[in-house]
């Protein structure tokens, strides 16, 4: 019961956060002096055509009214224009991109597989490699492996993704010609090509993000290994594998879950740069296109979508935390 109430509170507060994010984003974008209808006016453009385009797109209404319609559209759907040419945007309608002639839900849906392929593949890689390296470093403290892992992880934490990505493309793509320079092949089309196009981004992302996991795992492991119960376990002559796997790693799980959840939630922010560097048509690229085309509905909804990911990840992490460690609910 308490767990349910705790979960309910977290979800509600997450929704509140999203509402505020939507409101702020909306206010900021719509109050700035841009006229998205300009781009749908045609050329040459006349004031009459401009007014027609603006009216059709609904940009002639006050922004707070537009915000109300935006929120309403999520629940009940929206219709732009009227008669035979009306555009139906069924619920949940997060807006309609007039430039791309599609609802933003379908646009994001189309691009999401790319971003997810990129992020999940890299995340699995960095989680596995990062944790493994962290454990080894902690167990072999002061060894060559430890020093190497520390050095590499400092580089990983400091180097920007576009720099490493570009060097990777230059070296592996152009000079050695072992991986494709850019692009994306859908998994359904060819799993091999899919993976082959993603290998370099995965490695680069894993190298950069994995560094934090190495450090975190190593630090947590060292702390746990000093705890009395581990010493006791060892003293009792339990095999090292059991000590590490069953007792030590379990205590490292909690902070790792937190970090991993938040990293996954924030993946869209990072995707903006990663997808640009590797020429991947994902949600991050979609955002950059929306920026280039002053596509306000798309800008708003990609921002909101990124916020949804972060908030959902936060809530999930909190819930998992609450399950793993009931004390956490109190604070």
């Amino acid at each position: 019961m308490a767990t349910l109430r705790y979960a309910g509170t977290r979800v509600l507060s997450g929704l509140g956060v999203l509402l505020v994010v939507a409101f702020v984003t909306f206010a900021v974008f719509y109050l700035l002096p841009t006229d998205p209808a300009q781009l749908s006016c045609g050329r040459p453009c006349t004031p009459e055509n401009l007014a027609l385009a603006r009216g059709f797109m609904g940009f002639d209404e006050p922004w707070w009214q537009q915000f109300g319609e935006f929120l309403g559209g999520i629940l009940t759907g929206r219709t732009f224009g009227s008669g035979a040419t009306a555009i139906d945007c069924s619920a949940p309608c997060f807006g309609y991109s007039f430039q791309q002639s599609a609802t933003v839900v379908s646009l994001i849906g189309d691009r999401l597989p790319v971003t997810v392929s990129l992020a999940v593949g890299a995340a699995v890689l960095w989680l596995v490699v990062g944790v493994a390296l962290g454990v080894v470093s902690a167990l072999r403290r002061g060894s060559v492996v430890d020093h190497l892992a520390s050095g590499v992880s400092v580089i990983g934490v400091s180097a920007p993704v576009y720099l490493v990505g570009l060097l990777g493309i230059l070296l592996l793509g152009f000079t050695l010609d072992v991986v494709p320079v850019s692009g994306y092949v859908p998994l359904a089309q060819s799993p091999v090509d899919w993976a082959w196009h993603l290998v370099l981004p995965w490695i680069v992302l894993a190298f950069l993000n994995g560094a934090v996991y190495v450090r975190l795992t190593r630090g947590q492991m060292l702390e746990v290994l000093n705890e009395d119960y581990i010493r006791t376990a060892r003293a009792k002559g339990l095999p090292e594998r059991t000590v590490i796997g069953k007792h030590a790693l379990r205590n490292v799980t909690l902070p790792l879950v937190t970090l991993f959840g938040l990293d996954l939630g924030g993946l869209l922010g990072g995707a903006v740069i990663t997808e640009k560097v590797f020429g991947m048509p994902g949600v991050g690229s979609l955002l950059l296109e929306a920026v280039g085309q002053l596509d306000l509905p798309l800008l708003l909804s990609t921002t909101l979508f990124a916020a949804v990911l972060i908030v959902v990840a936060n809530v999930l992490v909190d819930l998992v935390y609450g399950l793993l460690d009931p004390r956490a609910r109190l604070t």
């Binding site: 002096p33 841009t34 006229d35 300009q38 781009l39 749908s40 006016c41 045609g42 050329r43 040459p44 453009c45 006349t46 004031p47 009459e48 055509n49 401009l50 027609l52 385009a53 009216g55 059709f56 732009f80 224009g81 009227s82 008669g83 035979a84 040419t85 009306a86 555009i87 430039q99 791309q100 002639s101 599609a102 379908s106 646009l107 189309d110 691009r111 152009f174 320079v181 850019s182 692009g183 020429g279 048509p281 690229s285 979609l286 296109e289 920026v291 280039g292 085309q293 002053l294």
Partner: protein, 573 residues
């Protein structure tokens, strides 16, 4: 973004239509104009193989390619032309001027009533990709449809010219437009609000493509249009890839402009221009049958020039869009013609060339007039003679004489983020500084840039780096959009906010002139008149470079426009 298809680039966005005077113009005078230029389309001499079959891939940077004729601003010779035919089209051949030719119609239109009424007759036996016949009513429907607010965004030249079109809201709500008459299935008669000699060229704009009467109410019509050209959209993957397959109802003998060599055309979207260049230069097997729709950037030009194989596959236009520095005449000291004239001397056009393409040769020759190369009636003159590096001393002198011995400060120079706009603007900034003119750059994303240029609010910028390729090869299309008072704000491109009643009157008179030679002379006089007022500094006529894979054939750029002719391109096995 540097593709002529849709909204965007410094150059691409404007290079869309083609005008009238060329219709009455002999090829000889056009060639003479090219000769004066002394630069011909270079490189990329592809075999003129007529081998059919295979798959051609077009690598484009932007992620929307619009096949809705009402919403498209596309050139007659690029992607849209593969799917849709128009009443008229352009015949573009290597080294030759673009020629207005019949497409769906049997000729390029017959004027009557002093150019106020235009009659076209459709060819016999034309069919859509769905097997239904193409009738005059379908062309009329397509045009009417373009007035629907839901389908705005395309080229709108016809909207302003058709009689009684003001306030017309399209066929879905507003009934028929009476100024387009279809007495029978093959005849279409346009009644214009005023005489217009360029109507034949206007009839080659996308909206003159047929849409089956009653169809096309859906917003995503462009993703599955009914085709009249040699290809139909087979699959449309939003933002990623479009596959065009042969339209079996199209017949080669009815079409003089489309070679339709490949069996399949793939449009691969979202391909960064630099990556495209590098891939095409490397010429791996997958890219051998591809060409890039984006300009090859200066950095890539260097690389290509060091690679003999790639160098052979580089095609550079002989001339191109006019790049110019706009001086916002409504802003402070720039209202003073003497101050504006100082800019003519201050600018280092040679540094601008280097910033554009690395070398003067690849960038394009220095411009001193507003009418671009290859336009009827163009006269070469230079009202402000200065070395290519500019004459800062003379500029300072003029500024001092205008009451600014300390020079000018705090001028905002608007520039688009796209291409190497920022580098070009920085070159201008550096050269203006030598003449005592301090300039701050205002770098905007391309669409924010156009929003500023097109908007009503003149308080946005003092100077703007702009570029213009005429929509049709008539001086009309060079001058009216840039210098008429009616083109200020509200979507117009008069970025200098230049307003001179005498020039407006002269433009109106020249537009009403139906005789091509006479009109040409009138336009040349307007060119001089505008340059005297110095609202802009002409910089260069920008050449465009494109790369193709080694198995792409018939890849060339005509004398105009400065883009490859997609309709002719094929691939070898």
């Amino acid at each position: 973004m540097t593709h002529p298809e849709t909204t965007g680039p410094l150059l691409g966005r404007r290079s869309v239509l083609l005008g009238s005077v060329l219709a009455g113009l002999g090829a000889s005078s056009f060639l003479a104009a090219c000769g004066a230029n002394e630069q011909s389309s270079s490189g990329g001499a592809t075999s003129s193989s007529t081998q059919t079959g295979g798959t051609l891939t077009i690598l484009v940077e932007q992620t929307t390619t619009n096949f809705d004729p009402a919403k498209s601003q596309s050139l007659a010779i690029t992607s849209l032309g593969l799917v849709h035919r128009r009443l008229t089209s352009w015949k573009v051949t290597s080294g030759e001027p673009a020629e207005l030719v019949a497409d769906l119609a049997t000729d390029t239109g017959t004027p009557s009533d002093g150019g106020r009424t235009w009659t076209f007759t459709l060819k016999d036996g034309l069919t859509f990709s769905d097997g239904t016949p193409i009738r005059a009513a379908d062309v009329k429907w397509g045009l009417e449809r373009s007035f629907t607010p839901a389908f705005s965004g395309g080229l709108t030249y016809h909207k302003d010219l058709l009689a009684g079109a003001a306030g017309y809201g399209g066929p879905f709500e507003g009934g028929a437009l009476d100024s387009i008459a279809t007495p029978d299935d093959r005849t279409i008669v346009f009644t214009l609000a005023r005489p217009y000699g360029d109507w034949g060229w206007v009839a080659s704009t996308p909206a003159f493509s047929p849409v089956p009467e009653g169809k096309g109410a859906e917003a995503d019509y462009g993703q599955h249009p009914v085709a009249s050209g040699p290809y139909a959209v087979k699959t449309y993957q939003q933002g990623v890839r479009i596959e065009l397959a042969r339209n079996t109802h199209w017949t080669k003998d009815s079409d003089d402009v489309r070679a339709a060599l490949p069996d399949t055309v793939l449009i691969s979207m979202g391909q960064a221009a630099d990556v495209v260049s590098q891939r095409l230069a490397a010429d791996s097997s997958a890219d051998q049958t591809a060409f890039g729709a984006s300009f090859v950037s200066p950095a890539q030009l260097v690389q290509v020039s060091q690679n003999p194989s790639a160098k052979d596959r580089l095609v550079t236009s002989s001339s191109g869009a006019l790049a110019f520095l706009s001086l916002n005449t409504t802003r402070g000291v720039l209202g003073d013609v003497k101050v504006r004239q100082a800019f003519q001397y201050a600018v280092d056009k040679s540094a601008f060339q280097i910033a554009t393409a690395g070398t003067a040769e690849l960038a394009g020759k220095i411009a001193t007039t507003l009418i671009t190369d290859g336009i009827a009636g163009r006269e070469d003159f230079d009202l402000y003679t200065a070395p290519p590096e500019g004459d800062p001393a003379k500029a300072k002198e003029l500024l001092a004489a205008a009451g600014h011995p300390q020079g000018l400060t705090g001028l905002k120079l608007l520039v688009s983020q796209d291409g190497n706009g920022p580098a070009q603007a920085q070159a201008l900034q550096a050269s203006l500084a030598k003449a005592g003119i301090a300039v701050d750059l205002l770098v905007q994303d391309s669409d924010a840039y156009y929003a500023a240029i097109n908007a009503v609010n003149p308080e946005e910028y003092d100077l703007a780096l702009a570029s213009w390729q005429p929509d049709f090869p008539s001086a009309n299309a060079n001058l009216q959009p840039l210098f008429a008072t009616s083109a200020i704000g509200n979507g117009g491109y008069n970025s200098a906010r230049y307003s001179n009643p005498a020039v407006d009157a002269a433009i109106e008179a020249a537009q009403a002139t139906v005789d091509a030679d006479e009109a040409g002379k009138a336009w040349a006089a307007i060119d001089r008149q505008v340059m005297t007022d110095s609202p802009v500094v002409p910089l260069i006529y920008t050449r465009n470079s494109f790369l193709r894979g080694s198995k792409v054939t018939n890849f060339f750029i005509g004398a105009f426009p400065a883009y490859p002719n997609y309709l002719a391109v094929g691939v070898t096995a």
